[in-house]
């Protein structure tokens, strides 16, 4: 019909957002969120999504986000009604269990994490369903089929396997869950597929796995040699054993730092694979997401945040030690009280506004930008064949994901 001429690469997938406009949006958002003690966050999230969706164009037409803050708010209220009694029950049980009953304590902790894990999976899948149902391209709605329970079952099996194998199965878990998610995602009636293999990730994962194994080995060694609370018994040891303990500690620390860096590289590789295996009809995706560029942006962001934290921390510390100079508690110098309150308030603002904003503008923005501009699509016109679906969409927003703070924005 209309798609006679070949499509230039620079028109397939384009990114129009600028850091300046994004910073303005985030500034307004965090200001309103602060003023409304957090309630505005639903509308803030919606504004950020609208912003990114409309600034990503495929074949000259932008994505469209049709969700509203009100929907997110209602979804949140529903989840509140579920999580609040759950939390009350948990703290009630926790206050009755005697402190010296270690077995019961550990059992309660494990139960807590199992419930949390299940809620995270459910929350994630429901969030994806909501987002897809509120995303359109050229008027055609995205959607997510599949069942949350099937996803939860799949995720539970994989996490069990990952724990048993000390994380060796982690890349396979990630990719298999992604496959389930993609296979049930559709544009209109056109289903997506995933044709990728986690075997491509074993080498990037290897250093992370080694770091995990080393850490677990060190913990087990430490417990067998020094018991649960090493700090107390180490000081009672002879000098040479003490130094060997600290050598082990330093080795583990270095291994873990290297492991964290390796994990960053692994995440980039995983994202590349996740995009590169995507298929919609005859259209196929590939990604060249750059590691070094994202790494540099990440390091700079972390450094800036540490600097932003150091200032107020030093100020508070100085004021606190100064005011309590005579060493008696409850004798804070009343002349400095106002300054101290002001300084604490400043720290809260830094903590609540500055850090998330710096992180999002520098790092988050770059990740999204690079994901879009380094993705190449073969046969993009095939996607134009997608037809509108009449499937139902969820009526309320992703409350669980919000309450558990998953999904980023």
């Amino acid at each position: 019909m209309d798609q006679a001429e070949p499509i230039a690469e620079n028109r397939v997938l384009t990114f129009h957002a600028t850091r300046m406009s994004f910073a303005r949006l985030l500034f307004i958002n965090s200001l309103l969120t602060l003023v409304t003690i957090g309630i505005y966050r639903f509308w803030a999230k919606t504004a950020v999504r609208r912003y990114f969706w409309r600034n990503v164009s495929f074949l000259d037409d932008p994505l469209e986000y049709t969700g509203t803050g009100g929907e997110l708010f209602v979804g949140f209220l529903i989840v509140l009604a579920i999580l609040f009694p759950l939390g009350l029950i948990y703290s009630a049980i926790g206050s009755v269990v005697p402190p010296d009953n270690q077995g019961l304590r550990v059992g309660l902790e494990i139960a807590y994490y199992i419930v949390l894990f299940a809620l995270l999976q459910i929350g994630f899948y429901r969030m994806w369903r909501y987002r897809m149902s509120r995303t359109r391209w050229r008027g055609v709605r995205f959607g997510l089929d599949g069942s949350t329970w099937a996803y939860l079952k799949l995720a539970s099996g994989w996490i069990l396997l990952s724990v048993i194998t000390l994380g060796a199965a982690y890349p396979w878990m990630k990719i298999d869950l992604w496959r389930y998610q993609v296979r049930h995602t559709r544009l209109g009636t056109e289903s997506c597929r995933f044709e990728g293999d986690a075997r491509a990730l074993w080498l990037p994962w290897l250093p992370v796995f080694i770091a995990i194994v080393c850490t677990v080995a060190a913990i087990i060694t430490s417990i067998t040699l020094f018991g649960i609370n090493p700090g107390a018994s180490v000081s009672a040891l002879p000098k040479d054993q003490q130094s060997s303990f600290f050598y082990m500690l330093v080795t583990v620390l270095i291994t873990d730092i290297l492991g964290a860096l390796a994990f960053f590289y692994y995440r980039v590789r995983q994202a590349r694979l996740q995009i590169s295996g995507l298929r919609i009809g005859a259209a196929s995706f590939s990604s060249r997401l750059p590691f070094w560029r994202l790494f540099v942006f990440g390091i700079i962001s972390v450094l800036l945040i540490v600097l932003a934290l150091a200032g107020p921390f030093a100020l508070n510390y100085g004021l606190l030690t100064h005011s309590g100079a005579d060493g008696t508690a409850g004798a804070i110098n009343p002349h400095l009280l106002g300054t101290l309150f002001g300084s604490i308030a400043l720290s809260v603002v830094v903590f609540v506004v500055a850090i998330p904003v710096v992180w999002a503008i520098l790092f988050g923005f770059e990740v999204i930008k690079q994901m879009v501009i380094t993705t190449h699509i073969d046969n993009p016109q095939a996607i134009e064949q997608a037809a509108q679906s009449r499937a139902d969409a969820p009526r309320t927003g992703e409350g669980l994901a919000d309450a558990l703070d998953i999904g980023g924005f």
Binding site: D2, G87, Q385
Partner: protein
């Protein structure tokens, strides 16, 4: 009648059935936008009043428009930045029917705030009061022992160099235990009362659930007579007998949980939990304080001990509290010292001493 041939503009059209992009021509005909394909075949007719921005936040070209309630979309990439169309569409920024307007949101917000206040001020204390009745005293006792251990290990970090945190002076402890048991029996306490004195230069006494009472040594230093200390002890035992500490801790747990869920993660868990616990931890209600005073003074009367030193003591503490001037009395959980003093003095009938001067000397030096 001569009909002016309408101006035509090139647009891209998505019919809402597929994701295909149709090159099309749009023209305004009266109060409708007529969209035709290159061959002149009519694709759609959109009433001008039904045309909306797909994203009201983006009003710069290339413009994307939709028809209200429909899946079809229109792209205006060229032609005078779409001004020709914008001028004719009155409702471009209108939201979908079914979306709430801002007055509704403001009203809902006020209602939500009011109901939240209701939850914190009435519902949570009410629930806590009911739950307390369901907790057997033996369970409260084990909760109390647990919180005593936590409190002691927390305070031991602040203890001075080399000093034991708990003041273990058997003679003084025996005096306190004897008075505490007498008072507790008289008040029909559901559990035995245990008094612990710790070395802390703060003028205060705390009551934990399950009859665990902790006196900070600052109180002994500050008190001018032993009768004031026994008066404070009676007041704290009255709280224990009323099971106020358990109710407060249930109330605080619920409130902290609700707040942290409400505020979400934007405030960062650590910062907020610190701030909120400070906000909520206003302790007992004014009614609870007044009731504890009443029970305490009644018990002191029955034993023939004077409550007047207690009255002077609470008034004196209040005068030295710098916050009492800043916080209006209706916000401050403790009834103001002067009011309490008046009430205690009106109730007090005892004239005897709870403790003789020799015993008071022993008590006062128990942490020295």
């Amino acid at each position: 009648m001569t009909k002016v041939k309408p101006l035509k503009y090139a647009v891209s059209f998505n019919d809402g059935k597929t994701a295909l992009r149709h090159k099309a021509v749009a023209a305004i005909d009266g109060d409708t936008l007529v969209i035709t394909d290159a061959l002149g075949k009519e694709l759609a007719r959109w009433p001008l009043s039904d045309i909306r921005y797909t994203d009201p936040a983006r009003r710069t070209p290339p413009l994307r428009l939709r028809r209200s309630g429909h899946d079809a979309r229109l792209g205006l990439a060229t032609d005078d930045k779409g001004q020709w169309l914008i001028q004719h569409c009155p409702n471009l920024t209108q939201r979908e029917a079914g979306h709430l307007r801002w007055p509704t949101w403001v009203a809902a917000g006020i209602l939500a705030t009011a109901s939240l206040a209701g939850i914190f001020v009435y519902l949570l204390p009410g629930i806590a009061g009911t739950v307390v009745k369901l907790v057997p005293p033996s369970v409260e006792q084990s909760i109390g022992e647990q919180s005593r251990q936590q409190l002691l290990s927390m305070f031991s970090k602040f203890a001075g160099k080399g000093d034991e945190l708990v003041c273990l002076e058997p003679a003084a402890q025996a005096i306190l235990d004897q008075r505490a048991n007498e008072l507790a029996t008289l008040m029909e306490s559901p559990f035995p009362v245990r008094v612990t004195v710790i070395r802390m230069p703060v003028v205060n006494a705390l009551t934990l659930p399950g009859g665990e009472i902790v006196i900070l040594s600052g109180l002994l230093d500050k008190a001018e007579s032993g009768d004031a200390v026994i008066g404070v002890l009676a007041h704290e035992i009255a709280h224990a007998v009323r099971r106020d500490p358990l109710q407060v801790s249930i109330k605080q747990t619920g409130a902290a949980l609700l707040l942290s869920l409400m505020i979400g993660d934007v405030f960062g868990g650590a910062v907020m939990s610190g701030l909120t616990s400070g906000l909520i931890e206003s302790g007992y209600s004014r009614d609870a304080e007044a009731a504890a005073d009443f029970i305490a003074v009644t018990a002191l009367n029955q034993l023939g001990w004077t409550a007047l030193p207690l009255a002077d003591f609470v008034a004196g503490i209040d005068r030295e509290n710098p916050l009492s001037d800043l916080v209006p009395s209706f916000l401050n959980s403790h009834p103001s010292g002067e009011n309490r003093r008046r009430d205690i003095m009106a109730l007090s009938q005892g004239v005897g001493r709870a403790i003789n001067s020799h015993e008071w000397k022993t008590l006062k030096s128990m942490c020295k």
